[in-house]
């Protein structure tokens, strides 16, 4: 059990560090969001002087804390966080950051999560197979998949969109579902789910294409190493069927390091979606992040960053739990 205690302690420290970083980073940014917001308003209203009221309203939301010490701001920041209050977005004023995130998160988690799991499973299964049949033509599969990994993701995605969506018209071009078909937004119907899946196919394919190589390579290498472990030779000498040796002795052990990596990858689901969502106009978290950074939207940036970090920690913790079951050695030693 102490294994878990140690991990929990680690996560708490990391959580604290991430949140503090989250607090500090945006504050280190130059520029003054309130001023930017006021400027935008004035410009958009054709230079009309803004009333004192308006200026007040905006500075109190975005410029707050100017006269507070950093420490007081920090405490206030924690106070707000603990109440689940992520603040108000300035680029999407007056939308609540929490609402924006809540709207975007499911899309990202489902699409990228599923794609990551598919990529991992595919990589592990094929990697195990390639490792098992080492020394055959299958070995060439490894360098080929790594080429896909070396292509800039967005470049691959843009080319695929140009070919499959625009030229051939096989896949949709943008969005998480057919907005023309469902103008009222997401609904709970098979038609909608079908539409969502249809829209997810191409993004998912690009994610899988660009990430499967890493899993495959890692698994294959581990498989090759594991195959010469004593216990595999022993298993063979025991007269076990090749199938049993492959699954229970070689693959299972070889997959353990990949599983640890999977925790991280799963955590990076949300963070890793940024470029993808930009390319496919996918209604997820990543796009919020880009908008927040480009608009210097403190609150939104903090919120998204926080959510991203939290998902990473949660995913890692989850994998730690599983890891303890898969590799009993871990449970025993801290």
């Amino acid at each position: 059990m102490s294994f878990y205690l140690r991990r929990v302690a680690f996560y708490l420290v990391t959580f604290w560090a991430a949140i503090s970083l989250n607090f500090l980073l945006p504050r280190l940014l130059p520029g003054d969001p309130a001023a930017i917001m006021l400027g935008k308003l004035r410009r958009a209203s054709g230079g009309r002087p803004l009333s004192e009221e308006t200026i007040q309203a905006i500075t109190s939301i975005l410029g707050a804390g100017k006269d507070m010490s950093l420490w007081d701001q920090y405490l206030a920041y924690w106070g707000r966080l603990l109440q689940g209050d992520l603040g108000v977005s300035s680029t999407r004023y007056p939308a609540q950051v929490a609402d924006l995130i809540a709207g975007a998160l499911p899309w990202t988690i489902i699409l990228v999560g599923v794609a990551t799991v598919i990529s991992f499973a595919l990589g592990i299964i094929v990697g195990a197979w390639v490792g098992w049949r080492r020394g055959t033509w299958l070995d060439h599969l490894v360098p080929i998949t790594t080429v896909f990994q070396s292509i800039p993701y967005f470049w691959l995605a843009l080319v695929l969109v140009a070919v499959f969506s625009v030229q051939l018209g096989i896949f949709p071009i943008v969005g998480g579902y057919d907005v023309f078909e469902f103008p009222g937004g997401p609904e709970l119907s098979w038609a909608f789910i079908g539409s969502a899946i249809y829209h997810a196919i191409l993004p998912a394919i690009t994610i899988v294409l660009s990430s499967v190589g890493g899993w495959l390579l890692g698994m294959r290498n581990m498989m090759v190493s594991t195959m010469s472990e004593d216990y595999v030779v022993t298993a063979e000498a025991k007269g076990l069927t090749p199938r049993r040796v492959r699954t229970k002795y070689a693959s299972r052990n070889a997959a353990i390091p990949s599983l640890a990596g999977f925790g991280i990858a799963l955590g990076f689901v949300v963070a890793g979606s940024i470029v993808m969502e930009q390319v496919f106009s996918y209604p997820g978290i990543g796009k919020l992040m880009i908008q927040a950074v480009q608009g210097l939207d403190y609150a939104l940036m903090q919120g998204v960053f926080l959510v991203i970090t939290l998902t990473v920690l949660a995913a890692n913790f989850f994998m730690d739990l599983i890891y303890g079951f898969i590799d009993p050695r871990v449970r025993h030693n801290g």
Binding site: D230, Y231, A237, K238, G239, R252, R329, H332
Partner: protein, 283 residues
Amino acid sequence: MGEAVLTARDVSIEYEVDPPVKAVRNATITLHRGEILGLAGESGCGKTTLAYGLNRLLKAPALMTGGEVVFHDASGRDIDVVALDGEALRTFRWDKVSMVFQGSMNSLNPVMNVRKQLHDVFTTHRPAMKRAEREARSAELLNLVGVDPSRLSSFPHELSGGMRQRVMIAMALALDPQVMIMDEPTTALDVVVQRGIIREIMRLRERLGFAVIFITHDLPLLIEISDRIAIMLDGAIVEEGDAEKIYRSPEHPYTRRLLSSFPSLRGERGDFIRTGAAAGGAA
């Protein structure tokens, strides 16, 4: 001396590396039913390679370039081990000849508990066995080697080195094999533990009557426990005979040299020249 259970004739094994290594050259040994045959020789002389050859476990770049290995089954049937193939080979292994490996400490799958690894043997070779029977037999085996059956649920890392070794021996006994090959089963262990395990092996052999090929480079130990001893040098068996004979009147000069490099515990010092005249030269 009983009838033969395993005969190997003119076995040659080569590692096809550059340059090729002739690890075993024309080795001929006969293992009799129920005896302990000691196989001694310095490191790299080909002991392990020969053992693997006997059990058809050679992996590339090893290649058996010649010779034959015949297993004389208790049923009277002779099995040409070299010609075995596929299913036949698979079912032959462990059932007739089992093996305790040199790296025995790592022979257990670290992420499976002992029970599963024992049961694996039964489900593969004795598919008719019921679960309860398997369980009972596993417990019995652990008892046999002096490990508490409650350890069945343990993972290898939860066992001490000696226990792991015993579990491997239990596993090797699982199917009542007629021959057990033990490749330095105790080298990595502490002397006291080592002694305990060897005692255990001897006891089991008395009871179960299997034959043992015991490989080690610890010649004094071999002499103490074996019925017969084969001395290997550079892949060839240079001398074979009763333990007594090897100890008292070794014929081959290599055997003699090997013997003399072990200073005797209570007797003479062998080649050891700490004091006295041999101090030659430097002073």
